[in-house]
Every structure is written in C-alpha cells, then in structure tokens.
Amino acid sequence: MKVEVSEITPVRKKVAIEIPSEKVDEAINMTVDALLAEAEVEGFRKGHVPREVVVQRYGKKILDQVASTLIEESYPAAMQEQKLVPTSKPELDTTEVKEGEAFTYSAFVDVAPNISLKEYRGVKVEKKEITATDEEVKDSLRKLQEGAGQFVETTDAITENDMVTIDFECTIGGETIPGNSAKGYEFKVEGGARFPEFEDAVMGKKTGDSASFKKSFPEHYHDKAVSGKEVEFNLKIVSAKAKVDPELNDEFARDLGCENVADLKSQVKKQIYYGKERAEKDRQKSEAITKIIKENPFDIPESMVDKYYKQIASSVLEGVRRGVANPRDVNVSSDEFKTRYFDMAINQAKGDLILGAIAKKENVKVTEHELKQAVEGLAASRGESVENIQEMLDKEGVADVLREGIMKEKVFDIILG
C-alpha cells in the first residue's frame, strides 16, 4: 500500500492511496467466494452456481463491494501510518476496480490540528467572592411559600389573582345565544379570562353577586352569531377562590423535609451558595479557556465547527420547543443567529481540542474507579439505582460523554491549580 499525503490547508489533507494489484485480486476472489455460497441463479441449485456465472451476473456489485472493502481496510491503516487524526468522514474520490490492476483512491479529510501548547498552567483567572445574602434567602423562601400556596374558597371581595367560577348568559335584544353561554366557567383574574370585560365585571364583587356588561363585537369577528352586534352578558359568580400561601413556620419547614424554620433557612442558604459556587466555577473555567485559546492560536477544521454548530443550534431549537427560549430571539435563518452561534461553536470546538491536548500532554486518564464514582453520584442525584444508571449508560453509549466530562474536570484542576 502506497500512501501519499498532500496538504490542502493545515487542517485538511488529501490522502492518495494505492493498493497493489495482488491485493485487489485477492479481495475480488474473496468476495466472489463469499457470493458463491449465497448466490441464487435460476437453473442452478444454491451453492452450485459456477464461478463464471456468478461473475457475469454480479460483476458490478462485486467490484463495488471490493472497492468499499478495500477502502475500509486501507483507510484506517493509512491514517494510522501517517499519524493523522481524522475529525470528519472522508470524502472519497475513487477510480474503478479492475482485476489485475492496482486500485487507487483519494480521501479528503479534516484532521485535528497540531496544537503546540505554550502556557496553560496557572492561567490568571479573576476569582470572585461568593455569598448568599439574607435578601436572597428571603426571596427564595417567599418563592417556596408562593409555590406551596393553594386556592381556598373565599367570601371576600374578588381581587387580582383569584380564581373565579361564573355562570354567564349572552343575549342580544333579550334573546339568549346558547353557543355563547356557559355554566361553571372558571378563570383567573389576571388576564386569564376569554374577554377582559369578565375580569372587570367580577372585580370587587363577592360570591353570589351578579353583574352584566355590554360588549360590541367587531364586524370581522370569527363567531358569526355575534359579529358586528352589541351583546349583553349577564353573569353570576358561583364561587371565588383566593390564593393562600402557607405561613413561614415550623410546620411549613417540616412539610419541606426540614426540622424547623432555622434549618430551612440554612438549607436554602446552602443551596443558593452551591448554585452560585457552581456558576462561578463555570465562569472561571470559560474565562480560563478563552485565555488559553488566545495564548495558543491554531487552525480548526470546518467540519468540526460545523458539528459543534449543529449541536448548539439543535439545543437552542430544543429550548424553543420546550418553551425555555423565546422564538423571537431564535430566528434560525437570520445571519445574526448564525454569527452568534458560529463563534460559540468555534470557541467550544477550540476549547475541547485544547483540553484534549492538555490532557494528552499531562497524561490525564480517567480510571474505572472515577467513572464508577461519577455513576454513583449521578444515581444519587437522580434518585435511581446505580444499576439502572449503568445500564442506561451502556445502552445509549453515553459512558464516553461521562468519561470526557470527568477528564475535562481533571484538566481544569490542573489549569486552575
């Protein structure tokens, strides 16, 4: 096998590979042999088809298969021989396979850049103090209370944020329109009603009160029964519920699994502190990485950036789908979106490459023990058994992701000292 590598860019190579004729013939023979046992041709029993017949019938298929097996065998070997680390699938430019002739093909492939690491140890990163203030603790306690609040029937005047149930009738000139009347219609006084007039009408009223209002519908209203007419609504308040938040006392604390209010407070404080600590650590990491990338410039293959870009884009879109991100911010086709996330992709790709390079240089390895610990940690945080998590990792092949995460963590320990 002859291999010739020429450089297109520092991160894209053309690899020309020539496979000698003997190898080609050997591969052809092997393929035909395999086919002989399989081939079914009319006039012959299976496995008794003469070689010539098989060759004539399956000629093209055989050669195609030979080409792909030859490439499959020679390509990784060639990459290893040339010490190239491909980061993309090769684009192939092949010639036809012919019996008794050498087979040549060229593969165009992106390779990982050669990173000559300069300075990465003890990168100066600004470290910020983290504290959880009383103010923040109060805030999240307030939120906890609000979250645990329940709607309780009330006879007080209706105010905002109450849940109101009404029966209403819609009439035009004294005649009831059944399609626009309802019993037991429930809404929240906070922009939750079908028409804002409902909310205005019940505001300040009590259970058992009735109210009425007039509403003119526009000419083009979708409901033909009321469009362009003035309609009178008569409503009766069936029930009103006000939201009552639990008080901050020991009982409330016990409901949340704490001993008393003081315990709850310290727990909340701890959580806030951990959250901030994690955010600060992430911030330090990304700052360190940005600095290292600046210190060690290198080229990056397009295909790699592409891969990261696609990942980012799909996760952003996933965010939109789940309603986390605002679709208006995510105009996928816009150039702005592309530039914003493309830079991000480049940085992520570079960051991963650099971390990998440092890991290699420092000989960072992830032991089985560490992996096991991570699995146990994951199991604990998700409240599932270790076996379940392990099974999931094996099934989905995400153990490598976990491994990579641990490795990055270790590399960061080295970088940040």
Binding site: V41, E42, G43, F44, R45, H48, P50, E52, V53, V55, Q56, G59, I62, L63, E99
Partner: protein, 95 residues
C-alpha cells in the same frame, strides 16, 4: 437462408448444461424449425469453431387450461453441439 442469430436463440444456462462444457459440448435453445445441418453451420459461423456433431430434442409445450379453454405452450428445441477437440465457446464473459 436463415442467419445464425435466427437459429441460435440463447444458451441453456443450467447446472447440467454447464457441466457438459467440460467435455466440449454446448447446449443452446434453437429455432424448432431448424435442422441439425443448419444448427451446425450457424454455430460454426457464430463462434468460429468446428462442430463435429449435433444432437437435438424437441420439447413439447405443456397443456395449460384456463377454465374451459385449453392451450398449449410453445414448442421448443434444444441442441447439444459437440465441438472439435480443443475448440471452445466462451459463454460467460468475465468481468
């Protein structure tokens, strides 16, 4: 006079027929109306070989019925052509 391609229709591609090629005998589907002499000449012209003997057999079509109507499949004729020793016909071209 019929041309050779009107007499020789196609080779018989079966295990049995291929076996025969090892003893210099080749089997063809031929025009049922042709005789041994015509077959001999046709093979000699088509493949530039010398034919020593021709054996033939006629295969009558099966009777097939479709309800009340009976019909017959076409008559076919097979020719076993023996070549002079050393001659051969390449029926299966390699790749």
């Amino acid at each position: 006079m019929k041309e050779f391609y009107q007499i020789i229709q196609k080779p018989v591609v079966t295990e049995k027929a291929t076996e025969r090629s090892s003893i210099g005998q080749y089997v063809f589907w031929v025009d049922p109306k042709s005789n041994k002499k015509q077959i001999k000449e046709a093979v000699e012209e088509a493949f530039s070989v010398k034919v020593t003997s021709v054996n033939t057999n006629r295969l009558f079509g099966k009777i097939k019925r479709m309800g009340r109507h009976a019909g017959r499949r076409a008559l076919r004729k097979k020719a076993y052509v023996t070549l002079k020793e050393g001659d051969s016909i390449k029926i299966f071209e390699g790749v």
